[in-house]
């Protein structure tokens, strides 16, 4: 039984939590606000918070000057493509490990996890070299494959934990009912696992979208996603806070929204089921 809490106590909690929450959120809020200011207002001394002339000018300039749409499109293709490929490879693998476990299943799962822990910098040059040799440098295909590979262990793990919650008897029932393995996966397993698959997809789009080692090192211009687009702002030219803010807001907005939907699944995905 939950105890009734006095309203006074609840009020103090609320004030404290909101204060801390807003403090943590403040850099994002400030970026969003600044993106609607003119460059002059953006660096005004003292800083203005809410009362300024709101303008969409920065968004227009950023669009025109840096071809934002191209970077956005690259991000969408790379994040979406790597997740889609990953799911395609991971669903059968996770099915196998969840429903036909063998003595080695646990070892294989842990080994897959260990590949995720490989520091990227340790294999930077070989990958770089392979990419040059295969003509994949600065290509969306190459980046999609790399991001798929680095996130594959997480996808398999998440799906595995979701599949394990589906009772094996239901799959056996399908088998008794005359379903082939393919039909069993398509008609029974997949529909039942849709919520799990959806949150796996969501989390992996976020991870791929924000990945900033391979995207920075394996792209130049053609295939560069938003991470690289933002990095190009690190060498400033004159007054640029407002435009930087507009660019940043555009880069994080889609994922911030997706992220809010997937926050419940985040813990499970990122701790490999170690914390529930």
């Amino acid at each position: 039984m939950a105890r009734t809490v006095t309203n006074q106590r609840k009020f103090i909690n609320t004030v404290a939590a909101w204060a801390v929450g807003l403090l943590i959120f403040f850099p994002i809020l400030w970026t969003i606000l600044t993106s609607f200011k003119t460059e002059a207002t953006a660096i005004a001394d003292p800083p203005v918070f809410l009362f300024f002339d709101w303008t969409l000018e920065n968004y227009r300039v950023v669009q025109e000057r840096s071809d934002y749409m191209r970077f956005l499109w690259n991000s969408v293709i790379i994040a979406g493509g790597s997740t889609f490929l990953g799911i395609l490879i991971a669903v059968p693998a996770a099915w196998s490990m969840a429903f036909v476990p063998s003595a080695r299943t646990k070892d294989i799962l842990l080994w897959m996890l260990s590949t995720k822990m490989l520091p990227a910098v340790g294999v930077l040059y070989p990958i770089y070299l392979i990419f040059i040799k295969m003509g994949l440098l600065d290509s969306r295909v190459g980046l999609t494959v790399v991001l798929m590979l680095i996130n594959l262990p997480i996808i398999i793990w998440m799906l595995y934990t979701y599949f394990r919650e589906i009772p094996g008897e239901i799959l056996e029932a399908a088998r008794m009912d005359g379903a082939t393995l393919r039909e069993e996966i398509i008609y029974v397993l997949t529909p039942m696992a849709i919520p799990g698959i959806a949150s796996t997809v969501l989390l992996n789009i976020i991870l791929a979208w924000n990945e900033a080692f391979w995207t920075l090192n394996l792209t130049a211009a053609k295939a560069a996603p938003l991470t690289a687009f933002i990095a190009s702002y690190s060498s400033p030219e004159g007054l640029f806070y407002a435009k930087l803010s507009a660019a940043s807001t555009m880069a994080i907005a889609p994922i911030l929204i997706l992220g809010w939907f997937s926050q419940k699944q985040l813990v499970r995905g990122l701790t490999f089921g170690a914390v529930k």
Binding site: P47, I89, N217
Partner: protein
């Protein structure tokens, strides 16, 4: 619980994932290992033959090695301490009854979804800039001299930026762990006469120990290889050259692949030592 047919189907369906990951792990790793024993300068003569352990000796004895270890330790240690201490406090706060809990949760989690390049740039320019940054305004308001954050307090700045990014992760996991604590345990302790602080120390904290370990291990692995934050802020200057960044510079900037590869192998070994501990915990959980 299976037949031969389903077992062979399972093996077949696992094959693509296993083969891909095996290739992804082994091929580049073997290449790195191979290069680490070579003098290999792609822009200055290419493959100049085997040199044994010379690359390793040079990597470890170079003047940049120890500072980079130190920088790595400061960042990893600093961020871990900050995110876990504040993470626990925040998790406890968020676990209390309040109005608008869902919204506060979202506010707290948000930084995790911000891409590293964005958060680094926003902090660098809009907060830590010595002229126009918000911190400079704040300092001036109190009649203090603004700090040139990224040069004078470069490590502190980086720790702040990275902590901001990872605090949501720690908070979220610790909050999940706190919520899984059986409230009857706490009530039993209360009936036994334990004051709030003892209840926290004897019940809540031990309950969290597992989650804390998981946070420490996972964050360590990710923090060891932070890159974008340094790349867009200091580019490794002002003593912020971590191991990862040092290796990156050796490989791609100075194109000394042999030397960089030796460092890469070192980084792989380091990460694996931590990974072993993490896998023990995860593995134990698999059996349960």
């Amino acid at each position: 619980m299976a037949t031969k047919a389903s077992r062979s189907a399972a093996r077949l369906m696992m094959a693509p994932a296993v083969i891909l990951l095996l290739g992804w792990m082994l091929v580049p790793l073997c290449m790195t290992l191979y290069f680490s024993f070579k003098k290999y300068l792609p822009l200055r003569g290419g493959d100049l033959g085997w040199v044994g352990f010379e690359n390793y000796v040079r990597f470890f004895s170079s003047s940049a090695f120890w500072p980079s270890v130190q920088a790595t330790l400061v960042i990893v240690g600093g961020v871990l301490v900050i995110t876990i201490v504040f993470g626990i406090l925040l998790a406890i706060l968020l676990d209390q009854p309040m109005w608008g809990q869902g919204i506060v949760r979202i506010l707290v989690i948000a930084p995790f979804f911000v891409m590293p390049t964005v958060s680094a740039l926003v902090w660098k320019n809009m907060f830590m800039d010595p002229v126009n940054g918000l911190f400079a305004h704040l300092w001036k308001f109190f009649d203090a001299t603004p700090i040139e954050w990224l040069s004078q307090a470069s490590m502190t700045s980086l720790v702040i930026i990275v902590s901001w990014q990872w605090l949501p992760f720690a908070t979220l996991i610790l909050l999940t762990a706190i919520q899984s604590l059986d409230s009857e345990q706490l009530e039993a302790a209360e009936m036994d006469g334990a004051p709030p602080l003892s209840r926290f120390g004897y019940i809540t904290l031990p309950h969290l120990s597992r989650a804390i370990t998981v946070v420490v291990l996972i964050q360590t692995i990710f923090l060891l290889s932070i890159f974008a934050e340094i790349f867009v802020t200091t580019q490794g200057s002002f003593g912020t050259k971590t191991l990862t960044y040092l290796i990156y510079q050796r490989v791609l900037e100075s194109q000394n692949v042999g030397l960089g590869s030796a460092g890469g192998i070192f980084a792989v070994i380091l990460a694996n030592i931590i990974a072993i501990f993490l896998m023990r915990i995860v593995g134990k959980n698999l059996d349960a």
